[in-house]
Amino acid sequence: MIWQTAVIERIEQTTPRVKSFFFRVALEHHDAGQHVDIRLTAQDGYQAQRSYSIASAPGAELLELVVEHLPEGEVSSFLHDVAVVGDEIEMRGPIGGHFVWRQSDEGPLLLIAGGSGIAPLMAMLRTRPATDTLLIYSTRTWEDVIFRDELLAMDARVRVIFLITRELPRRAEDFGTRIDRGVLGSVMKQWGCAPRHVYVCGATSFVEAAATALVDEGIPAAIIKAERYGGA
């Protein structure tokens, strides 16, 4: 897979710690859920690579990556503090053939995200799935909800429930707790659908908790796809 030049066309601050970067790049068509690799090169040839999930819908004009600023993050600090519109970086992809959803996979669809784990699930939501879809999205605070306005404006077949873990939830349907079997069972009961596919993305501890809750609720492990990041 070859490295290509990607130009930053736009940068948006989406939450206090997260920016979206929009790239113009001629990658092959991607499926929702896939990721790209990016590569940065210093003057002396030193290189750093990272993987980021694609948040834009397949076919979108610009490719959107969601980058959380990690205090010690070599690449995220560069992107947040140094990179500006017009800069070029190297990119290759799309990559990944497991954590993907295509319209033809149908639904109902259950999506569970923690923090910046929303990115690949956003690509799925942006394909406007023609099926009942439930998104359960956990963040620390209301301000940390990435894509909040876009999620609140989703059409009627997409139900969005926020789990806000460090402050009181703002909406009556949301929860002020971490994900566990109790919350999951209650949200799924209100939804009233049996999911055909489940996608879980977030930090390792979040994904472990969500996946355990799903299995305990009787969801077959075979339909649950997980993407974890960060340390155990």
Binding site: M1, R39, Q43, Y46, R228, A232
Partner: protein
């Protein structure tokens, strides 16, 4: 292509020498798996060496414990870009396993099959000579389920997707048939020092 304004936070020279291209050093232990972590109960655990639908040898958990265990310390490299140094494992080398089972390899190719349905291909040439083991302990403790416990394959000189978690079957096959990730865009061998990440990488 030089990236404008990128300086980077270089690893120390000693660490840099141990990092394959494109990797960065981590001190935690990230978890990558396809789905939920399976709960594999020890009383039901079994490891089988098979070929052509025949079981050549198999062990219960208790029987497996009686095999000669070896400690190894190795650097591990995940295709998602992190590497971790000096990880300490204990398990039964593939050499010891074949010997204990009285198995003369019927082919030179192996497909590891796991309790969660995962598969990966590893030629025997990448396993013999103490290059690979069935690991059951990590850092002096029983291997945690999220890291592949009770037992995983460990092939530290290849990217970590080859070190199949929750291994159940060591299947000899007639050719180097691709496993789960190898069928989904990842390299057939996966040598981190040659940066063999994706299918068409050199």
């Amino acid at each position: 292509m030089v990236t404008r304004g990128f300086v980077g936070r270089r690893p120390k020279a000693d660490d840099a020498r141990r990092l394959p291209p494109g990797q960065s050093l981590t001190t935690d232990f990230p978890v990558l798996s396809l789905g939920p972590t399976p709960a594999v109960r020890l009383e039901r655990w079994k490891l089988a060496i098979t070929h052509d639908r025949k079981v050549l040898a198999s062990w219960s958990w208790e029987e497996f414990q009686a095999l000669p265990h070896t400690p190894i310390t190795a650097d591990i490299h995940c295709v998602t870009k992190w590497s971790r140094f000096d990880t300490q494992w204990e398990g039964v080398t593939i050499d010891a396993l074949l010997l204990a089972g009285g198995v003369t390899p019927p082919t030179q190719f192996v497909l590891a099959k796991c309790y969660d349905g995962y598969t990966t291909n590893i030629p025997l040439a990448d396993q013999r000579g103490a290059q690979a083991m069935i690991a059951t302990r990590y850092a002096g403790e029983p291997l945690a389920a999220e890291h592949g416990g009770p037992a995983r394959l460990l092939v530290p000189h290849l990217y970590l997707w080859k070190s199949a978690k929750w291994i159940a079957e060591f299947r000899f096959v007639e050719w180097n048939a691709p496993g789960f990730w190898e069928e989904r865009g990842y390299h057939i061998r996966g040598d981190p020092w040659q940066e063999q990440r994706y299918t068409n990488d050199p």
